[in-house]
Subunit: 299 residues, 2 copies
């Protein structure tokens, strides 16, 4: 489980949380047992004002049990992540040129080149690296993204030997058949590289995708991104919901026989508090529906 | 696809729709290509005031292309369904005694006996019959429902030779592993009997369950219940959502390679209108997020 509510969650919410509130959120996530947390992103504060306090948040992260991740898009971001003392960087490469250019001002090929430079320097600095292929399941501008395109992008990224390869359904259009197809791409292009998946529930397919990814992994290491409460909208569908919710995913996995060592009951009040702070009901449903059997703690 | 918004959807909403609005809803569902629609339930109007106009709705159903289903719980309900000229009856037997007694005033065994009497008379009247095992995935009072219990209930119901066996996750607690287990029960206890599944998305597991049921069926006939907009709450979790949404399910199935012959783009305005009429956003997400690729009609 990789918890992304402090980053991808809050980044896509209209309400800005204070640094104090962010640190309180992060602490409660760690207390529930989450051991990898994407705490912030080191991007331009004018582009993403929700993350303008990245250094202030990083300075207050409780060190020790949790591996703290920072999202970076370029070497400037990497410099900040290193200076802030994070454990991992997550570098995003967008699978389509149109989306990449609009989102990051570079083509996909330029994004791959930037990742390769970042990877070398991050490793030198002792940080673990993840490269995330964004829009791998579909692009808001170009539409369908051929599996062959994802294969090319993965191959280009793999040259820099990431510690982890993430495949992201950035706009929440994917279905399990696509998870299977892209898992096949990863198996052939990146054998032995641990996989990570990033799903949005924009069209109610995110949980089926996540379970499929877990099932496909079998005994191989696999990471699933999720966000407490499912917070984080979709900039390309303003009324739509965002990430899959950590507590709902834990319920699904726990009841399916996976033991992920996180106390889901501790996350329900976290999700409710986020809803209060953000001024809207969170899309995650477990915090309203409750655990089953009633009173149980699916761990 | 079995469309249940006029029955299970509206039955669990606080706002009562007029008969005119119900008929307009039903007509738009039929126009979108849905060919089995659970139009109403013939239950006591004091218990379920939302369905008090069952006969009035039934009298205005456009006959011809659609098989119209009425839910009944006893012989009095069957009499009404026959008189109203419906094509099918759906008879509910609750898998646990506590839930059965609280919901229908009879034990499970008494419910099975009632179903058996109804089945004989329904067939004599030329109606197709479905027996639905409610709370097959979990009970709001008794908690876990052992697979062996569902097996006993299915075996008891099968003696009356239903045209279809439905397994219902009435309170939305199930996961795909349970779908597989119960599909196994059906395969051994009811070989050759077409299966139907009824999922709620109360804890965000409904779509994964539905896709699993479709995949398990292979080339065998299978029916999936869903509700336009995903309307219909959960009486045991008042703030929670209800049925899986027809348009979101169609998106998932369509993008997974299933052709179900329904025009999902025609359902998006139906879902939005339901939200306006019921005074709250519908839980189905496709009507907000939109189709993908943008502008496409996943059929």
């Amino acid at each position: 489980m990789v918890e992304v509510s402090p980053r991808d969650g809050l980044q896509n919410e209209d309400v800005l949380l204070s640094t104090d509130d962010k640190v309180a959120l992060i602490s409660s996530l760690a207390a529930a047992g989450l051991r990898r947390i994407e705490a912030t992103s080191f991007v331009h504060p004018k582009r993403v004002p929700q993350m303008a306090d990245a250094e202030a948040v990083a300075a207050r992260l409780p060190r020790g049990q949790v591996s703290w991740i920072g999202l970076v898009l370029n070497e400037r971001g990497l410099d900040r992540a290193i200076a802030a003392g994070l454990d991992e960087v997550n570098v995003v490469v967008v699978a389509t040129d149109t989306f990449s250019t609009r989102n990051q001002g570079v083509t996909t090929a330029e994004g791959i080149a930037a990742w390769q430079r970042i990877a070398v320097r991050a490793k030198d600095a002792g940080l673990r690296t993840t490269v995330t292929i964004a829009a791998a399941f579909g692009c808001p501008f170009e539409g369908e993204v051929p599996v062959s395109r994802v294969r090319e992008v993965v191959a280009g990224c793999l040259q820099a030997r990431p510690d982890e390869l993430a495949l992201a359904d950035t706009i929440g259009v994917g279905v399990p058949a696509q998870v299977r197809a892209l898992a096949g791409v990863a198996a052939s292009e990146a054998p032995g590289v641990p996989l990570r998946w990033h799903f949005h529930n924009t069209r109610n397919t995110g949980y089926a995708n996540a379970l499929t990814a877990a099932e496909l992994a079998g005994d191989s290491p696999v990471a699933l991104d999720s966000s407490a409460g499912g917070i984080g909208g979709c900039p390309f569908a303003p009324d739509a919901t965002g990430n899959i919710a950590t507590e709902d995913l834990l319920y699904l996995l726990g009841r399916s026989g996976y033991d992920v060592g996180v106390d889901v009951s501790a996350l329900l009040p976290v999700a409710r508090r986020l809803g209060d702070q953000l001024g809207h009901e969170v899309p995650g449903q477990l915090s309203r529906a409750g655990l089953f059997p009633l009173g149980s703690a699916v761990r």
